[in-house]
Symmetry: C3
Subunit: 134 residues, 3 copies
């Protein structure tokens, strides 16, 4: 199994696209298989969404509706509302699998792989890619 | 890795069961392994839920609570409220993996594999199945 | 593909940690690969979250906000509000994949694997682990 571990600077961005990095890794493998994408973090997730036509901003904004950054959370570390970040990965999982055809990600036209990261206190994330040849 | 790509007519249905199709594909492979199910679409997801006792309707109805079809969305293409469809796959992922025992899906008694598709503008979906022999 | 099926007593707990069990199974395999974790149940899911600093309680409590246990549900079996349990797995999937490095789960420092189970009527769950060697 080929693996790659890389550091992604998410900074203040709540949605960070990593499609190109995943595609480059898949291309290096060259065959059919499954690409597993993983974040070893407890306050971030991965999603397959359209980017660039407003939906990435919609997702970031709507997460504040679904997981309000107020004082309801028992987890009290970090910035106010940070407890919400710890519930996020139950809804937006940090584990994602994508088929690969001859080294190409089999994504739909409008699908991008993004890191969803509402935790501005953590500005760098580790992305783990694993390729299982078919 | 054996793969199958098929077209599923979802039409107006928000929940479309594809368990039989997945089971037939797994049966053709015949051994132990993992079945990966994938939708190459940015406005649909996959879920494992009970069907036929109201829960599929509950899921479809409740998604309108979680992702209201109003004018809050920045994504402005398509029908009113269509921006909600683009946030859906972050919560209901289009990627799902199911164990296979000797060609049989290892689903629980009440688990069905369904396409969750709130986007009535897109009436046909591509379903991608991949089998990784164990 | 090595597999293990075990019974987990969840009882009244809404969040039940299974990291140690998953880690022990991965250690028995000893190499690199992917661990697939699966629940053959229609009213439970799996999540990767921090435990022990309030976030597990936050998740359990917040699921009642996202999926209220009232009379809105068409699914009418079981306890009042049980329809919510059947929508849960669409948001918190019962399927999860984790990379394994030389027999060790490649989890982040604060990530634990938990069963999310809001259905107190079902006090025992089957956990299925599958290891795909890389």
């Amino acid at each position: 199994m080929k693996q790659q571990r890389s550091e992604i600077v998410t900074g203040d961005r709540r949605i960070t696209e990593v499609t190109d990095r995943c595609a480059a890794f898949a291309a290096e493998q060259g065959g059919d298989g499954l690409l597993h994408v993983f974040l070893p973090h407890a306050t971030a997730g991965l999603a397959l969404v359209e980017t660039g036509a407003g939906s990435d901003d919609d997702l970031a904004a709507h997460l504040d509706e679904l997981l309000p950054r107020d004082d309801r959370w028992r987890h009290r570390h970090g910035s106010p509302g940070h407890g919400a970040d710890h519930v996020l990965p139950a809804l937006v999982s940090p584990s994602l699998t994508v088929p690969v055809d001859a080294g190409r990600l089999a994504l739909g036209t409008w699908q991008s792989i993004v890191i969803v990261d509402t935790n501005a206190d953590n500005r760098t994330r580790t992305l783990r890619l694993s390729f299982l040849a078919g």
